[in-house]
Amino acid sequence: MKENKKDNQQKGTIHPLSLLAEEAYQAFADMGFEIATGPEMESEWYNFDVLNIPANHPARDMQDTFWIKDPKSGEKTPKDRKVLRTHTTGVTAWATEQAAKNGRIPSAFVSVGKVFRNEATDATHEMQFFQIDGSVLGKVEDGFSLAHMKGILTNFYKKMLGDDIEIEFRPSFFPFTEPSIEVFAKFKGRWLEMMGGGMTNPAVIRNIGLDPEKVQGFCFGGGLDRIAMIKWGVPDVRLFYQGDLRLNQL
C-alpha cells in the first residue's frame, strides 16, 4: 500500500499520523476488527448521553468540550444539539448499535479519527488530535472479557511500539465502562499512560438498544498522536497540524 520511498523524488510523502493510522488499522484488521468512521460534528447524544455521561454530571467535566454555537440549541434535544466530538467512542458505539440491528453480534470495530478538546495548547495538548477507539461486543456466552482486552491491546502496542513492550492495567473511571482501567505501556524503561477502557457499561449497552443480561463486551480509546510522539520522538503535538512538510520524515 505504501512504499514511501524517500529516494524516489517523484513520489510524495505521507503524514506520520496517516502512516500510523494505516498501521493501527492493519493491526486491528488482523485481529478481526472492522473500521468505523463517523462525523466530526457529533450529536450531544452520541458524544455524551449514549455513553452514560448525563448532563449536569461531573463526568462531563473530564473533557473540555467545544459546543457548536446555535441560537436554537435550547429548543433542541441532545440528539439534535451538536458538539465537536471529544472522542471517537461515539463512533464505535454507533457502529456497534447498527451492527446489532443487522444481527451482527459478535462485532468488533475500530475507529481512528480527529477529536477536539477546548483547552489551552502546549507541547502535549492541541485543540485537535487523533484518537483510536475500539469496541468488541458479543453474547454473554462468548465471554469477551478484560483478559481479551488485555490480549488485544498488548498485541496492538507491540505492533506499534515494538515486541519488547509491556502492558499493564491500572484502576480508573469512565462513565461508559465498568470495570474501568487505564492502560500503561512500558517503553524504554518508562511506564506511559496510553489509553482508557474497560468492560462496556450496561447502561451504554441499554442505550444502544441491547440487553446487558445477554450481551457483554469491552471498549477502549486513546490518543494516536501520543503513540507517534513516543514511537518516533516527535517533541511537540502541535507540529502535526502546521502543514509543515519537514514533519514527513517517516
Partner: protein
C-alpha cells in the same frame, strides 16, 4: 485530593511507609500523583480520587477505611473516642422547604470563644494546604477533611427566633458571601435563610457574610446537611464558585454521613472550648436513605474479568470491606454500605474484586471473534485518494480545523479561532507558503501538497480532498475525487521501518548556496561532491545535491546546492561565505577544475 500520611496513621497505624503506600494505592485504588515530604517529617499524597469514589474517599477517614480493608490491617475507629458533650433542650427550629435538601441537622452551642486554633489543628490543616482561620471555622474544615462531611457555623445572634429554613431562592434575591462578593440568586438555587428574608448561606456551596462569626461571637449554630448533587453543581456553575464543600456535595454524599459530621464537629468544639454549652441536635431527615442490595454470581464475575475468581476470594474481600452478604452455590447477595454509592451493578463488584486482587492477575489473550468485517468505504476512499496523490508527487499535510471565520462557530474557544474551516484551500495555501520558503531545505523544486479532511458548512460537514501544486489549489469532494476508484479496491497491509526516528529541525534560518564547477570530462560528479562534503563543515543540513550538469568543449559542468543551518544560532552570510570560500579553494586546487 491532598492526604496527610501522619493524619492517616491515626486510623491505620500499621500502614506501610509512604512511598510504598503510594505505589499500592496507584495500582489498587487511584493514581497518587505526587508524594511531598514536609519539613516535619510528614508526607502528603496528592491522590486523583476517581469520580465514582468521590462519595466516600474525599476524606482521611474514608481513605483510612479503604487502606485498612485493602491491606487487611487494623482500622482504629475514632467515633467512640469523641468527646460527647452534655446536652440541653433546644428551641432551634429547622425546616426543609425544598426537595433538594435531603437532611438538615443543626445544633446550638453557647458560650464558645473564637480563638486561634491549637497547634495540632493548625498543623493538620497546613499539611494539606489549608489556612487556619480560627478555632470554630477550623473545626468545620477539620471535620470535612477528616470524615468527609462539609459543615458550617452561623452566628446565633443573627438568626432571628432561632429559625432556619432551607428553601429555593427567590428570583433576584441577593446574598453577600464570605469574602465580600455579592451574588444574585434565582429560583433554581437553594439557600439557607432565616424567617425574615435574610439569605444566610448558599446551600452546600458557600456561607454568607451576614451570619459570619466575629471575635465577639459567643453563641453559634452548627450545621451538617445533605444536598442534591445536581442542584449544588448547577448553582455553583451559574455563580462561578468553587469550594471544597461544593466538590463533595456535587459528587453525592450519603445523608448518613451527617451524623458522623455532627458528632465530630461537636467533639472538636468541646475540645477547643471546654466551657461551651451544647443543646440537643435537631435532625430533619424526611426520607431515610434506602438500603440497597446487590446480587451477583461468582461465575459471571469471572466471565467479565476473564479470570477465575473463587467464592472464597470474594468472601474474603467482602469481609475485609465489612460488607454483609449471604452466599449460596456461588451466588452472593450483599447489603451495600451506605457510603458506597458506587456499588450498584454486578460490574461494579467485578471492578471492586479485580482492583483489590490486582489487575496484574489478568493474563491477556486474543479472542477469536466470529465476525465478518466489511470494507469501510469512506476509509477506503481516503487511502485510495492519498495513494493516488502521493504517486503523483504530492505530499500530505494536515492543517488546523479552526479558522478566524466560517459558517459554524464554536462557543468559548480557548483560542481566538472560533470558527470551523469552510474549505481546505485556505489552510493549504498557508502550508504552501511555509513549504515554498523551505523548498531548498526540503530539496524540492516545486512544492506539491495535499490534505484530505472535513470541512464544515452551515448544516453539514463534508470530506474533501485539496491539492496544491506551485501555489494553485484544486479542492473537491472526496467522493468526486474517487469516482475512478476501482470497485474491487481493498486495503493492503503496508510495511514500515520499525527503526525510523524523527529528527526535529532547527528553528534557526537556513542559508542555501549553489556552487558550479567545470571539470575535465572524465571526472565524475561524485568526485566533486566528495570534495565539497569534506570541506563544507558540520552545518550542512542538506546536500550537496547535484541539480544541474552539462558538457561543453570537452569539459563538464556540475552544479550543486548546499543548505546550511545551525541548531544553536542564526548563521551569518560571512560565516557561510567563509565555508564556500574554503570549498572553492579546494576545488581549484585540482588540476583542470574551476569554479564558475
Amino acid at each position: 485530593m491532598k492526604i496527610s500520611y501522619n493524619w492517616l496513621k491515626w486510623y491505620v497505624p500499621e500502614a506501610p511507609e509512604a512511598e510504598k503506600l503510594a505505589d499500592i494505592l496507584t495500582y489498587h485504588l487511584a493514581e497518587v500523583e505526587s508524594v511531598e515530604k514536609l519539613e516535619d517529617g510528614d508526607s502528603v499524597f496528592d491522590i486523583k480520587i476517581l469520580p465514582n469514589r468521590a462519595h466516600d474517599l474525599l476524606s482521611h477517614q474514608g481513605m483510612a477505611r479503604e487502606i485498612a480493608s485493602l491491606l487487611n490491617i487494623k482500622y482504629i475507629d475514632p467515633t467512640p473516642k469523641y468527646k460527647i458533650p452534655e446536652s440541653k433542650p433546644t428551641k432551634l427550629i429547622k425546616t426543609i422547604e425544598t426537595p433538594n435538601c435531603r437532611r438538615y441537622m443543626g445544633r446550638v452551642v453557647r458560650n464558645i470563644k473564637v480563638d486561634p486554633s491549637p497547634e495540632w489543628v493548625v498543623k493538620h490543616l497546613k499539611s494539606i494546604g489549608q489556612r487556619s482561620i480560627n478555632n470554630i471555622v477550623d473545626a468545620t474544615n477539620l471535620t470535612m477533611f477528616d470524615c468527609g462531611q462539609p459543615a458550617h457555623v452561623f452566628d446565633l445572634k443573627k438568626v432571628k427566633d432561632l429559625k432556619l429554613q432551607v428553601r429555593q431562592a427567590k428570583n433576584g434575591e441577593k446574598i453577600t458571601i464570605l469574602g465580600g462578593a455579592e451574588k444574585i440568586l434565582n429560583d433554581t438555587m437553594m439557600i439557607i435563610a432565616d424567617d425574615y428574608g435574610n439569605a444566610l448561606d448558599i446551600a452546600g456551596i458557600k456561607g454568607g457574610a451576614y451570619a459570619e462569626l466575629d471575635t465577639d461571637t459567643t453563641d453559634i449554630i452548627l450545621e451538617c446537611a445533605n444536598f442534591d448533587p445536581t442542584s449544588v453543581r448547577k448553582t455553583a456553575q451559574a455563580l462561578n464558585i468553587q469550594t471544597d464543600a461544593k466538590k463533595r456535595f456535587e459528587n453525592d454524599l450519603s445523608p448518613e454521613l451527617d451524623w458522623f459530621g455532627m458528632l465530630e464537629l461537636s467533639s472538636l468544639i468541646l475540645e477547643m472550648c471546654p466551657d461551651a454549652v451544647f443543646e440537643d441536635i435537631v435532625d430533619v431527615y424526611p426520607k431515610k436513605q434506602e438500603i440497597h442490595k446487590l446480587s451477583f454470581s461468582t461465575e459471571r464475575i469471572s466471565n467479565i474479568l476473564g479470570l477465575d475468581v473463587s467464592v472464597g476470594e470474594i468472601k474474603d474481600i467482602l469481609k475485609r470491606y465489612n460488607i454483609e452478604y449471604t452466599e449460596s452455590s456461588g451466588v452472593f447477595e450483599i447489603i451495600v454500605p451506605p457510603m458506597r454509592f458506587d456499588l450498584v451493578i454486578k460490574e461494579d463488584i467485578a471492578e471492586e474484586i479485580v482492583r483489590i486482587i490486582g489487575y496484574d492477575k489478568i493474563k491477556g489473550n486474543i479472542p477469536k471473534i466470529n465476525f465478518q468485517p466489511k470494507l469501510n468505504e469512506t476509509y477506503a476512499k481516503i487511502v485510495w485518494a492519498r495513494n493516488k496523490l502521493m504517486n503523483d508527487g504530492y505530499s500530505e499535510v494536515m492543517t488546523s480545523s479552526f479558522r478566524n471565520s466560517g459558517e459554524v462557530e464554536v462557543l468559548a474557544s480557548a483560542s481566538d479561532k472560533n470558527f470551523l474551516r469552510v474549505n481546505l484551500a485556505d489552510g493549504l495555501m498557508e502550508s504552501y507558503k511555509l513549504n515554498k520558503a523551505n523548498a531548498s531545505l526540503l530539496g524540492v523544486s516545486e512544492v506539491k501538497i495535499f490534505e484530505i479532511g472535513t470541512i464544515f458548512k452551515k448544516d453539514r460537514e463534508e470530506m474533501r480532498v485539496a491539492y496544491n501544486a506551485g501555489g494553485k489549489t484544486t479542492e473537491i469532494k472526496l467522493e468526486d475525487f474517487c469516482k475512478d476508484m476501482p470497485k474491487d479496491f481493498t486495503l493492503e497491509s503496508g510495511s514500515w521501518n520499525p527503526e525510523a526516528k524523527f529528527k526535529m529541525w532547527s528553528l534557526f534560518p537556513f542559508i542555501a548556496r549553489d556552487v558550479a564547477v567545470w571539470v575535465p570530462e572524465n571526472v565524475k560528479s561524485s568526485d566533486v561532491e566528495k570534495v565539497i562534503k569534506e570541506n563544507a563543515g558540520d552545518m550542512v543540513v542538506r546536500g550537496p545535491e547535484l541539480f544541474d550538469e552539462f558538457k561543453k568543449d570537452g569539459k563538464i559542468s556540475y552544479a550543486f546546492r548546499i543548505v546550511f543551518q545551525s541548531y544553536e544560532k542564526t548563521l551569518t552570510d560571512a560565516e557561510v561565505n567563509e565555508i564556500m570560500g574554503k570549498i572553492s579553494k579546494k576545488i581549484i586546487g585540482n588540476v583542470g577544475w574551476q569554479v564558475r
